[in-house]
């Protein structure tokens, strides 16, 4: 089973990296950029095929380790 996890910064958390990317893109001549936010994308290959059980497990993984809930949100998706 392939799980896809997105980890994004919470709305009001400063994203220095996103800001610099936005500036660089503008400097490179790309117009019309309102904002850039950088997050993480994690792919996990899991044994088994019980999607419900896997979803529970993946949420736990995010809470325990993968995301820092003080500043980040996460979402889990299974193919």
């Amino acid at each position: 089973m392939l799980a896809k996890i997105h980890i994004t910064l919470k709305k009001d958390v400063l994203d220095p990296q996103g800001k610099v990317i936005a500036n660089s893109l503008t400097d490179l001549g790309f117009g019309g950029i309102q904002s850039v936010r950088q997050g993480k994308y994690i792919e996990i290959i899991l044994d088994g095929d019980d999607k419900n059980a896997a979803t529970v497990k993946l949420n736990k993984m995010c809470e325990k380790l993968l995301a820092n809930l003080v500043i980040e949100d996460y979402s889990v998706e299974i193919n």
Binding site: V13, L14, P16, Q17, K64, L65, L66, N68, V70, I71
Partner: protein
């Protein structure tokens, strides 16, 4: 005086801090491997700097889940003094012993240089020497961030330990090396027995290394 230094596989300031403590207190700390689950009586626990797990995923995240950190959290809650330096600060944040977050430096680059810090709180055991001190920083993610409520809370409870300042103690934007909110360089927990700071006092313990202001921070706990 019994002190302990936690060692993760990628710690690299563990020796430096052990040398500093021995030099200042006269007795060497015990080094505790991260897979251990308990620490006996301790007067001071140090979570040292380095790249505990390569800083992969997020600095300090993986280390914060190690068996020994569970014990450190228990000890901290029981009142044992704990200092997290640099990566150690990041680890303490990830365990939630300390509030807020440490994000990428606003320059997006690693910064290694001398900075000055000023003690804000003068009542904690770590800050009673009330100093303006010069010492190095060396980090990629030392940009302190907290939500508006959290920031208010740590201010209301006098939890800001150190702020970045210039050599005269003036806290301003030029003296802020990494974009930290309100120039915060170190914070305390609400019971003031846990300190996290980004600068490296253990690298500033003798003139030959460029200064010995770092001694004050250890001296105020060790004596």
């Amino acid at each position: 005086m019994k002190s302990h230094v936690i060692v993760f596989p990628g710690s690299n300031c563990d020796r430096d801090v052990a040398v500093a403590i021995e030099k200042i207190s006269g007795s060497a700390p015990e080094m505790i491997w991260h897979k251990n689950t308990s620490i006996e009586h301790s007067d001071l626990i140090i979570v040292p700097g380095g790249f505990s797990y390569g800083d992969y995923l997020r600095c300090g995240a993986i280390a914060s889940t190690s068996p020994i950190m569970h014990e450190v959290v228990q000890k901290a809650k029981a009142g044992v003094p704990v200092i997290g330096i640099c990566n150690g600060f990041q680890i303490l944040i990830e365990t939630s012993l300390l509030d807020g977050a440490l994000i990428r430096n606003n320059s997006l680059s690693f910064i290694c240089r001398d900075i000055h810090i000023k003690a804000e709180n003068s009542t904690s055991i770590f800050t009673k020497n009330n100093i303006i001190a010069k010492m190095p920083i060396a980090h990629n993610e030392g940009n302190y961030f907290a939500s508006t409520e959290t920031l208010k809370k740590i201010k209301d409870h006098d939890q800001i330990a150190f702020r970045y300042c210039d050599e005269h103690g003036v806290v301003n934007e030029q003296a802020n090396p990494n974009g930290s909110m309100e120039n915060i360089a170190g914070i305390l927990n609400d019971t003031k027995n846990v300190l996290g700071l980004m600068p490296h006092p253990e690298r500033a313990i003798e003139i030959n290394l460029g200064g010995d202001d770092g001694k004050h921070i250890f001296e105020s706990v060790l004596n």
